[in-house]
């Protein structure tokens, strides 16, 4: 077999579509088997546009003239499959005659794969967004039961080391006659209102740098000076206590259900930690917690009782009355003070 014959056989059988075209009329001089397999056999005298219907002939002419090359991608349906073929034209001289060599590569599979990767990556991205949202939900839940700094430690190490916070100020609030309220009124209404009130307390506390530790039924405990120490923790807790009462008074003036509370304030050391393995609770322990709870019992409705040590700090800024020396269960006998809302005293003095 001669070299020419081998060349021609190769050209016919190669997996690339090849055609030779008249450069002026774009009629076919030659096409190989692969070309025919994809586009069908061009009829006698057929022009390029009859076969590759989507091709921009003007762009092809310009490309050949200016760049001596033109490449494009053409799509067509073969049976029901979309074929994508990359076409490449280069002009060349055959003796005296100028012809264009057309080489076609089948890039259908590449485009199909690209489509599949697009489709898959969109699914994965959507999934990732969902996972991220869920993670944020979990984080939000955990942040509801522990301070952020504690949560960060918990996330990093999987455990929380109990930590001593000294000094902090503890605010303990308890509602008057809550048990009766639950029994007499619609319990779901009562609980809904309780939720509103606790949410308001959380917002007020946040303004003064108090961290709500927990609620047990109608008892609400918040702490200033934890997890980050603050020098004016006593004032922060006193300010929050005064605002809690102001908030309740304003609320009571426009609501049928009257909410009245007692508040106790105490300063001291507490240990904060996550307790439990399956059901985590962040809690604080220490004499300041117990003392605040006892002091709360000394309060008349809508009044605030303050521990002696704390009263010393508050005196320069707040109005306080002594309730005298009191026996406190589990503690030494000590003086107890009543905290007043000084803005109210001022406005009363002015009127």
């Amino acid at each position: 077999m001669s070299i020419e014959a081998i060349n021609e056989q190769l050209l016919r059988a190669i997996g690339v579509g090849v055609a030779l075209l008249d450069v002026k009329s774009f009629s076919f001089h030659f096409h190989n088997d692969t070309f025919e397999e994809w586009f069908g056999a061009p009829e006698e005298g057929a022009k390029l546009n009859d076969v590759l219907t989507e091709l921009d002939i003007d762009a092809l002419r310009t490309g050949l003239r200016e760049n001596r090359r033109y490449t494009a991608e053409t799509r067509f349906k073969k049976k029901r499959r979309t074929m994508v073929v990359a076409v490449d034209f280069t002009p060349t001289l055959e003796g005296e005659q100028e012809i264009a060599v057309l080489v076609c590569q089948n890039i259908t599979r590449i485009r199909e794969l690209e489509s599949m990767i697009d489709s898959y990556s969109m699914m994965v991205e959507r999934n990732n967004r969902e996972i991220k949202r869920e993670k944020e939900q979990v984080e939000k839940l955990l942040l509801n039961i522990m301070p952020r700094a504690v949560y960060e430690e918990f996330k990093t190490f999987g455990v929380v080391t109990p930590q001593l916070y000294d000094p902090v100020s503890v605010l303990m609030l308890d509602f008057v006659g809550f048990t009766d309220m639950v029994a007499s009124a619609d319990p779901s209404v009562t609980v809904t209102e309780l939720n509103d009130i606790y949410s308001a307390f959380d917002r007020i506390g946040e303004q003064f740098g108090c961290e709500r530790i927990k609620t047990i039924g109608d008892a609400y405990i918040t702490v200033a000076g934890l997890p980050d120490p603050t020098p004016d923790h006593a004032k922060a807790a006193a300010n929050a206590a005064i605002r809690f009462i102001r908030y309740l008074e304003r609320r009571n003036s426009s609501h049928p259900n009257q909410w009245r509370c007692r508040i106790g304030l105490a300063t001291g050391a507490v240990v904060g930690s996550v307790v439990g393995i399956q059901k985590y609770v962040y809690d604080i322990f220490g004499p300041a917690v117990n003392l605040a709870s006892r002091l709360q019992e000394f309060s008349e409705p809508m009044q605030i009782s303050v521990q002696d040590d704390m009263a010393v700090v508050l005196r320069e800024q707040f109005e306080l009355d002594s309730l005298g020396k009191r026996q406190i269960r589990g503690f030494d006998e000590q003086e107890v003070w009543r905290l007043h809302d000084s803005s109210r005293i001022m406005s009363q003095a002015g009127s």
């Binding site: 049976k79 029901r80 499959r81 979309t82 994508v84 599979r109 485009r111 199909e112 794969l113 489509s115 599949m116 697009d118 489709s119 898959y120 699914m123 994965v124 959507r126 999934n127």
Partner: protein, 119 residues
Amino acid sequence: MSEQTLFEKYGGFSKISRVVLAFYDTLLDSDDIGPFFDDIDMSRMVDHQTKFMASLLGGPASYSDNQLRQLHSHLPIEHSHFDELKVVLGETLEDHGFDTEDIGAVLQEFENRRKLIVD
């Protein structure tokens, strides 16, 4: 730890992509089911097959029953078409080395959706 899905068991996207393309080719070549895809754009068709496989094998996609019903409601799909697709699906999975037991599970999942697809 959650149980491994078939999608993970058979090599994740890099392997499953081959199953998808083989399935896609078979569908287009089939004269029973193929005509449903006559006027469907290639990228949409590939998108559907990718999601179809991922859904059935527990990959990162899932169609709700309502979506499936809506997507197929305008098509005149008969039980014979559904049966044919089931055969093609089983063969494709077999060609790609899926265990008989796993193929059975996938085909059962597929069968469970018959009433959503066939009018």
